[in-house]
Symmetry: C2
Subunit: 454 residues, 2 copies
Amino acid sequence: METERRIEGSKDALLEELKEFLRMPSISARPEDDGGFRACAEWVADKLRDAGAEARIMETEGQPVVYAEIGEGSRTLLSYGHYDVQPPEPLDLWESDPFGPTVRDGSLYARGVADDKGDVLARIQALRLYIQEHGPLPFKLKFLIEGEEEVGSPNLAAFVRANADLLSADACLWEGAMKDEAGRPSIECGTKGMAYVELRARGASHDLHSMYGGVAPNPVWRLVQALRTIKDENGEITLDGFEDLIEPPSDEELEAIRKIPFDDAALRKLWGVEALDRNLTGEAALREYLLRPTANIAGILGGYTGPGSKTIVPSEAFVKMDFRLVVGQSPGPVLELLRAHLDRRGFGDVEVVDLHGVEAAKTPVGSPVVQTAVGAWEDLGRDDAVVFPTIGGSGPTSLFATELGIPTIMTGNVANAESRIHSPNESVRLADYFEAVGYFARFFERFGREGYPS
Amino acid sequence: METERRIEGSKDALLEELKEFLRMPSISARPEDDGGFRACAEWVADKLRDAGAEARIMETEGQPVVYAEIGEGSRTLLSYGHYDVQPPEPLDLWESDPFGPTVRDGSLYARGVADDKGDVLARIQALRLYIQEHGPLPFKLKFLIEGEEEVGSPNLAAFVRANADLLSADACLWEGAMKDEAGRPSIECGTKGMAYVELRARGASHDLHSMYGGVAPNPVWRLVQALRTIKDENGEITLDGFEDLIEPPSDEELEAIRKIPFDDAALRKLWGVEALDRNLTGEAALREYLLRPTANIAGILGGYTGPGSKTIVPSEAFVKMDFRLVVGQSPGPVLELLRAHLDRRGFGDVEVVDLHGVEAAKTPVGSPVVQTAVGAWEDLGRDDAVVFPTIGGSGPTSLFATELGIPTIMTGNVANAESRIHSPNESVRLADYFEAVGYFARFFERFGREGYPS
């Protein structure tokens, strides 16, 4: 209660500090645009030092990482976040300057406020409030705040591997999750992996007159024939060996899934569709969404696609596919399966181009850190936090959860379902922001307790 | 022989006349670009009058038709051609002015020389030469020379139907055919029909994050699932009822097919492919090419098709298909089959958009006009003319062959396999041009003989 009183009494100062952070246009897609990109990293390091941490700027092949440590104890908590932001374009759709943070109707609008500057600063402010109330931190808290998340973290894996000892921890708070449409916070324990590929087919060396449609090889038909071997007529994935790799969900995961509020009718309405894929509904849809891999077609192109009719046999075609993977299905082996699957069926001519791979990762929903996260929400009077064994999306959490073996979760929920992350008019509700500051302070209290995690 | 001597003695004048025709940029895609579009029609009418015909300009909803008649007798021959040309672009690829006809290495280069001005004028010059040698034409010869062929003859059907009596004839010489790679002339007795459609599928009202790939309807997958019902895994068309409509080829057509020189190895080399579709070779490939319908994919588009990876479930997708049809398969009923086929399999949501339809048409290879055409080539010492029961391409020959019931063929072969019709540096060989003038004169001789067609 002390923490909440302190937050209540210093809202203006906390908000002003956040606005200062948001005024720095740390756009990692074009750091050269702004001489202040590194200044933003320095600002974060200074804030950590103000809170009593030892902070330093660590160089990478790209933008620098802010690393900090504070506290002493038998346990270690690692906090991951990023100080870089997406480009603000299209500028004309913003109702206020993306780098001139503005409060309207109880929400704060600025590029990066939801992803991820609000989350980063809420944790630092929570640390300060904790120390003000309780004194020195009884555990070690490590901060890793990178500057390249919005361009795909190209140097994060190398950094983590080179600094494995430095980053060792008992739990990791990954960047932060969103409240759902009903305002419920979430605790997310895993991310799906991904194998993003392009399948390419070729026909004649140039487009042909379609009078040859009966005899010329057609690369679009070739892709259709290859794709029909990847999903059956019912839409079930039929990639040889793909299913066998899946580590089945645990009973506790299935139990957690059953507790997740999921309204497929609301989703259909939101998307403007009469039915979900394969007419999935209810828990079956939710399990498919969270626990099953996908073989999604993200794009396809071949031949003439302008207005009206043009009569050709296209010379080439490609399809872009993202396979969202679950634990057990690493992108490398999945690519090998796909190649062998196509070869076995006579599609040796269909090229498979590996564009991008991410490992799936999961932290057991029964892990102490998940209990801590749930308890911290309860401390705030919230019994509506929803535990997700995994989310449908992907991210590099495996670097921590799998490679370093650190139980890793996403919570805190500065953002909400309408935060417009990566879009114009990005925002967070002020109430959610201050609640998150209090939440992280409660989380630190629980993590530092004697006898944790019992 | 007299005709050949006259041609030999007046080559310069014949060529100069052709060049005059070619200098008029009668581009039907943009007739307003050139005040001389109608002047071109007038020029053609004047040339017909010079030859002794009664010629007139007949208006349509679009560009005017040149119509002419000459001669008297019990038989009537109708000659179809067009005075309009394709746009010349891209201009920078032309080695000489597209409307400044130029002779290089024995070939004449200009837009329209191969398609169709050379063909049109060769017939008029042949008529003049015939009359110089033999006197009045002993049959009625009708010319229909339209000005909108290169924009799809939008007003031809209405014109033909409104003037059915005027156009009645015993045989029709359609615009002209090309010599093949070996220099052989052809006599082509039919064209395939076409049903050009777009199949459209829709998913959510906007592109979704592909984390929903397992539950969101994906319109590209939807098209793939629909397409797999249209061809089986061996590439054979499986559209319900499609095969049943086909009128099987006659014994004489099959016999004609067997006489067609067809080198599938040369085709594979030309196209740069290891095999034809379904590994077709030899006569099987030729029969497929000429006698069978197709279900070609001319283009497909859906979702993200830029560089690298973007993770979305597309909101919409379409595929453009041209079904080349054989006699018996009218585009209207084929569209109905397609709609019913998709509905029967639960693809009622896949929209079928009718973009374009053409009827197939065939003239029996045993028709008198075909014998006349073969004989006229023999008169020139050529026993290598190849009779095609039909070609792989489509065109509005059914207006004459089917609706008016006039046996209709394509021959004369001013153009050759390298004439680059519709492309920069369109050309004909001068030798082919003068041969065609002589050929049409021989054709008139045979068509006018006592006791024809025996």
